[in-house]
Structures are given as structure tokens and as C-alpha cells.
Symmetry: C3
Subunit: 348 residues, 3 copies
């Protein structure tokens, strides 16, 4: 079961240029396109004439033209022209999905359009604040469910096993991190502090001035069903980051994680990494991205392996451990959304 | 549902040499082979001993020998020898399919053998008339149903969208073509005239002497369930092709299209292109073939995309448009054949 | 249906080094690993925390560590440590499969552990007797069932059709071989004699001194469900191999064949070839292996083709022939094992 009454990232805004873009979202084929004025829309990705994918067509002056027999659709899904035919029957239309461009992202709503409230879209102004948070972003197709990728972010003890060469660090330090979890209206927040610990390789490269012992924080906010906002960093140990809120002068970064279900067992992973320590150096932003990419591809690998096995054995044979606190809470939030949605089914 | 009581093209005659040839036709595994005398036969493609595919065997003096333990089958499907055994039990046989070699093609009948009448096989003498219609042929495996490929040929408005760089031409001219459709006993015929139109690139290359405005005709005959015969050409505009039947001196070609279901959603596409304008120039025949190949691979691409989406959304969400007249008629002919066949099921 | 109450080869002992090894056996995901002391164990290949495959983990001092969040398992399947947690709940365990290292092989029992008797494991001391039977071994993954591979070995008339260029020889000689089949408690034995026959290419290469006519023997023992032990060779015709038991001085080899179901329609093929004629020449052992490899890959090919077709047409349309005696007996032995196992189902 996938939550449909929700805003998901459909694409990075800059992924969508002059050509239409096909995506599978919540197991539905969707086409994104920008009309002649640059306004982005999302439609069901098939022509209502002979079902050719509209993503194989092209954008023309009046809308999105099917590449087979030339029918053209407006951004609302209504057919606006049929070659050789004056009358356009009312049934000549395909489903339109609410789509909003915000903070460098295209957000799509897969459920009942009447319930789509753009005010509920995650705020991430850092994508626009290139002076303080210059970033670089990408998208991966993952052979695992969106939930498994969110799981991954909710239990950071994996850093010591999966990311030993990048953002990991000492296993004991991770396990003994000071962890505080707070429910929110839309999900949960948690903060982890690892005090007087050695900087992992990525931190060392980003901020060579760091001392051999650092105080390291990780603030995560999960906004159901698919967004995780990360603010993390470190300063020299004992200089006040933990007890006095002094976080300047060390290493700090922000990561946006957007997980969008493609199917029940596959997803898109949209992420950006923002450099909050050497903002005037594009190379530093690029270096950070490259470091994160190595780590995140390690996640992609383990989650793909996990999904394959999980599809076989099922969740019922598994057990929870102490480290699963945030993860279990996160899953409950999603279960509640599903229960609410199923009580009042989406009619489209 | 696939029509089985019908003659389908199983292969080009020259595809079948000394080695047996395996094909999947109407979702059955079939092996074609020529015996020592060159006579072609079609059998179920498995040995009745241990089910090794006979297409992995070889032709010997007495028939088709299984490549595993050496059983040999005659063209009628009866086993003629079992190594180490004198008695051949009557059950030692595999199904034989009626097969006829005609007009450079091998035609197979997948339904009840007693209903197979070779007189019903499509006539296409042009394949033998190399003086007037020198041709070149090929076969593609298509990731779409045979019906979708016939659809493609029944609605030529797609030329302006799919084949812009080859046989397409101006969209408006296609849409405004004079179209006349005539039912036949075995399917339908239609003729399209595009008067005073610019020659598309393929015509221009084939007949450089054509004027800037031509009168262009396309005559199609669909013979259910899988053959489409095409005669098409152009002369300088206003020189009598349309109103006085004068078609000489311009550009004309014939195309044989044979669509054979491999499965419900895949097919073989057998086609030939015959040069009716510079018959003494082998290079002209080759040039025509190369032009058509570019166009037909565009069809292969769009139909594959269409099939993938159609398998997901189904026909019921689709609508017909004005340009679908011939296509809709063609589908009705096939529906009638299926209804007839299902009323008196094929017993084999 | 697969026999589970049986010892199957899980791996060659030397395949399992410091890294864990994942295999699919009887359609279950299994991980093999050696602990710090070198002792091999087999577990279900998923972590009971979040189902990451343990085969993606690594061996540590205390056992097999999951590569995702660091849980460690002992060879008995019990979790011995959970990072960040003192108490190990009793449910923190995965299934252990009995595993025995013997004769260079790792033998696994996929059924009820209480019925696993190591005394029932096939004896093959020749793997340890490197002075008299130096050997080389390998494993193939086969796109056909284990039963089809055993079939292959039970009906050697295929040699004349599948292995014409290696170990085959004259078809008539194979068909006319003197064949004696003897049931055993655990399967069957058969001996084939081909007298006064020409040496096939592999024999000729191995023992160039052989005369142009040889007496050739093949002794096979099938031990259900997956082992076939082969002792084969030849001496110059009429020198007493057949009637007086004099087998020295010619060409002789032993082959171990271990077939282990991966799924119902795929298997692992473990085989070794031992040189019993020029034991002091490593190159002779290697040459033999290379010859056998060519032949066995011919079997892999035909069995893969056979399985694909058999999965489609089923066994019911097939017939038995005279050459099927040993094969049919072998299948009955397996049917009995299955019937016995189903009467008292495996509880795990």
C-alpha cells in the first residue's frame, strides 16, 4: 500500500526542459512537461486515442503532442486538438495530477485532487539560498521501496557498517550517540550528538582545520511520507556546540532527501547536499557532493539487497532492536496516513 | 485471443536453409525445417521423448533429428527412428502444422488442420516478378501485438508524426487526404489520395525527376488476420493519376506487410519493398529498402512503447477518432473471425 | 517438489574462504561462512533485524556480522551481539542448516535437522587421494532442474549426439552398449561396456598409446537425490578388461557429479575429473578437465534448452523409450523419497 494523498517529489525542476519526462510514481505512469510559457504540468502518460506514451511526444505551441497521431493535450489533461477533426469529444482527456514547482523541486499529488493543498508542501528554502547554502543535487532510481530508504535515514547506526570509508566513523561512537526523538504533527524530529569523537573522512576533507576530537550533531526531520531534512555538522570538542548552541566555524551541511515511490518495491531518491562551511568555493560544494555520492551509493546497494530478500521473507519474521526507535515511529506515522486514506478512499 | 484458423507467414522461404528454424507462433513453439528434398515442414518444437527443442537438432537423410538422443521425425511429425529400438510406438510423434511455400513465403496454419485450405493463402505474385517488381525483404521481432502493427497501417495519419524525416510529409496534407474505404470478403481496401502535395524525402530520393507538387496515392488491402498489401506512388500533380488513371513515369512501389502473432503482445513483422520505378537498378531497390527500414523501425519503436502502456491501461479507457475508420473496420473483421472460431473451437 | 531431507553439495570446500558465500538451495537463500577457527556453517541468508542478506556482511571474531547495522550471528544461527544493546532477545536468530565438510565438499541438509545423519553422506575418498586420483573441480549454475541433469547422466546414448567432438564416439556403439543396471539401497548402479570400438577424441588425447579398437567401460552409481559417481575407462580391445577384470595400462578416470537444486528449474552442478592414467603429470589432469569442460558445457546447453521447453509442455506429453531404463528407475527412487517426506512433513 502506498500513500497517495501526499506531495511527493516528481523531479528536480531543472530535470524538466523542453522535452517531456516520463516517470512512474505510485505505480502510475506520469508524464511531466513544461508548456510554451514554462509552466510545468503532470498528466497520465498515455494518449487517450491509442495509448502511446505522451512522454514519447513533444511540446508544441498549444501543449503536449502525442508522437503517434498528433493529438495535443493542455496542462489540464484536456485534448485541445485532434488532427483532421473539428469536434473534440469531452472524453478526449487524460488525468491531470496537481503539480507545484517550489524550492527547485516539482512536487506532485497522486491522490484526490480536491485534497491537494500546496500549503502542505515541505519548505526547503535552502535550495534558493545559494549564498549561504550552495548545493548540488541528483536523483537515483532505487531497487528498494521508499520506506526502506527512509528507514535507512532513521537508524544512523548503519553509518558505522555501511559507510566506513566516508561519513561513518567509529561504531561505538554511533551506538553511544545521545539521541533525542520528538514527534511532530507531520512526522518526527531527532537529534543525535556524538561528543569528543574523531572526525570521519568526509568531515576531515571538508574542514581540515577541525581538531582531532569533535562534537558532532545530526538533526533530522522526517515529514511524511517521503521527505527527510538533514542538518549536520561538527565543531572542535568542548567549544560549546552541544551545551551553548555555538555551531559556527566548524563543518556543517544540509541534505535534502526526497523519497518517491515508483512501485511498492522501487523508488526515486532525490537528494541535494549543501555546503555551509566554505560557501564561496564551488569546488568545496562539488567535493561534498562527491563524498556524499559515494556514501549514498553504498545505501543504494544495501537497500537493493535488503529489498530483494525482504520481498522473499516478509516483515513478519523480523524483530525490532533498540536502535529502531525513530524508524518504528516513522512507520507508525505512515500507517496512520494509510489508515486515514483507506477510510475515505481516493476517488479519481 | 488470437485467430488460429488462418494462414500466417511463418518465415521468408529463404530464411529456411539446411538448419531447422525455431519460431513462436500464436504462442506455440514451432520448428520449421526442409527435408533432404528441400520440402519445408512445420512441427511442434519439442521432442516427444524428453522435450528437447527440435530446432536445436539437425536435418538428416530421414528427417529432423533431435540433438539430445537422436530420435528422427518426418515432415508429418511421426517419429521414424529411435536409436536402439526397432519398434516405434504410435505415440512417438509431434504435432504437424500445415505449411505451404508460396510467393517467397512460408505460410503456416495454426488451427485445425482439416480446415486449412491453401487456396485461401494471400496471393502476392509480385515477389516472383523480379523484372517489374524487384524487391528486398526482412523480418523484425516486435514488442507489440500483430493487431497493433496492423492498426499502424490502417491509420496513415501517423506518417506526419512518426515518419517526418522519411515517408511522412506534411501533416495537413495527410489529414486532408481523400480517403475511400471498401469492405471486402476477407478484410478491406482503402485508397488515399493526396493531391498537389510536396514529395516526401523518400519519394524525392527515389524519383528525382518529380515536380515540386505531386499527386500521391496509397492503396492498401488488408486481408485478415495479418496481411496488408500496399501499392503506392506519385506522379507530377495534375498529370492524370487521380482522374484518368495515368500512373506511369513517376514513383511507385509495392510493400508486402505480414504480421504474425508470436504471443498476445509480440509479433513478427515480415515485409518486402519492391521498386516499380527504376527496376534495372539494383541500387535503387536497395536504396528504397534502406529508406523504408528507417521508417519501419520508427513504427517498431512507437508500437513497442504503445504496447507496454496498453498492456497497463487497457483498451477500455481509449476513444476512437475520425481517422480510425479503417482501423475500426479491421478490428471488427478480426472479432468476427474470433467469434466464428470460438463458436466451433479448434480441436487438435 | 524438491527432496529436502537429503544431503546436497552446497559448495566446494575451497570455494568458502574468508568471505561469506550466498547460495540458493532448494529455493531457500542460504549463507555459508567459516568462523575464525575455519569451521564452516550454513544459515538462512537474511538478518532477522531488517533482512539484509548476511552474505553481504563479513566474518568477525565472534561470527558473521550483518553489513547493515552490525548484528553478529554464531554458526548456530543465534545472534551473539546487537550494537547498542546488552540484552539479546531469544528471537534474535536465524535458521541454521546442518553442514558437514567432507571429501573436499561442503554438504548441507535442507530438511528437518533432527533427521540429518552425517553417516548418510556420500563417500568419495578419491578427492583426498591426490597420489592416485589427482583432480580438478568446478561448479556451474544450470538453467535446468537437478533432475534433468541426473537424467542426462542416466542415459548415455546422448553422448553420440551431444558430445560428438569430445567424449562421444559412434552412435551405433553407444546404442549397442552392453548395459547392466542394478538397484541399490540408495539409488542404482549401472555398467556399460562398449567392446571393440574406436576411442573418442578425449580418450585418444589422454592415452595416445591406445589401439584403434578399445574395450570401453562406464560404471555409474546414482545416490539419491543428487550424486552420481562415475568410473570409466578403456584398454586395448580384447586384453581382458571385460572378461577378466584387467583394467590397467589404458585410460581411466573418475568423475564426481553433484547436482543441487537451486530452484525447481535451476541447479548447481559440482563436478570433478580425476586423472587415473598419468597421475604424475599435472598437465594431464588439466587437459582432462579441459576436455570434460567442453563436453559438460554441451550438456549445460542442451539441458537449459530442454528445461525451457519442458516448463511449457510438461512431462505428460512425453514418452519413454528403451534407453530410459536407468533414468526411469532413478526417478522412481526420487518419487519414493518425496512420498516418504510428504507423509511426515519437514517441520522447521
Amino acid at each position: 500500500m502506498l500513500v497517495k494523498n501526499a506531495w511527493y517529489v516528481a523531479a528536480w525542476a531543472d530535470e524538466l526542459g523542453a522535452a517531456p519526462l516520463g516517470r512512474r510514481i505510485c505505480d502510475e505512469a506520469v508524464v511531466l512537461f513544461r508548456d510554451a510559457a514554462g509552466r510545468a504540468s503532470a498528466l497520465a502518460d498515455y494518449c487517450c486515442h491509442r495509448s502511446a506514451p505522451l512522454s514519447a511526444g513533444k511540446v508544441v505551441e498549444t501543449g503536449l503532442e502525442c508522437g503517434y497521431h498528433g493529438m495535443v493535450y493542455g496542462g489540464d489533461g484536456a485534448c485541445v486538438s485532434i488532427p483532421g477533426q473539428v469536434h473534440i469529444p469531452p472524453k478526449a482527456r487524460v488525468r491531470n495530477y496537481p503539480l507545484v514547482e517550489k524550492d527547485a523541486l516539482l512536487w506532485i499529488w497522486m491522490g484526490h485532487a480536491s485534497q491537494a493543498d500546496p500549503a502542505q508542501i515541505v519548505d526547503y528554502p535552502f535550495h534558493n539560498d545559494t549564498a549561504n547554502w550552495p548545493h548540488k543535487h541528483t536523483m537515483y532510481e532505487i531497487a528498494g521501496s521508499a520506506n526502506l530508504m527512509v528507514d535507512n535515514l532513521m537508524d544512523l547506526t548503519h553509518l558505522a557498517y555501511v559507510h566506513t570509508t566516508t561519513i561513518g566513523g567509529n561504531a561505538k561512537a554511533h551506538v553511544e550517540a545521545i539521541m533525542q526523538t520528538t514527534p511532530t504533527e507531520t512526522g518526527l524530529k531527532f537529534t543525535r550528538w556524538m561528543l569528543e569523537t574523531a572526525p570521519p573522512p568526509t568531515y576531515r576533507k571538508g574542514a581540515p582545520q577541525l581538531a582531532d576530537k569533535i562534537d558532532r550533531w545530526q538533526e533530522f526531520e522526517f515529514i511524511a511520507p517521503g521527505a527527510v531534512l538533514q542538518y549536520t555538522g561538527a565543531t572542535d570538542a568542548g567549544t560549546g556546540a552541544y551545551d551553548r548552541g555555538i555551531r559556527d566555524g566548524g563543518f556543517q551541511l544540509r541534505i535534502f532527501h526526497g523519497l518517491t515511490p515508483a512501485t511498492e518495491t522501487t523508488c526515486y531518491y532525490f537528494w541535494s547536499g549543501a555546503n555551509g562551511y566554505r560557501q564561496n568555493e564551488p569546488q568545496a560544494t562539488l567535493d561534498l557532493y562527491n563524498e556524499l555520492e559515494v556514501a549514498f551509493k553504498e545505501d543504494v546497494r544495501i537497500v537493493g539487497l535488503q529489498q530483494a530478500r525482504l520481498s522473499e521473507v516478509g516483515e513478519d519474521v523480523l524483530i525490532n532492536i533498540v536502535a529502531d526507535g525513530a524508524r518504528v515511529h516513522m512507520r507508525r506515522v505512515i500507517e496512520k496516513l494509510l489508515a486515514k486514506e483507506n477510510a475515505a478512499p481516493v476517488l479519481v
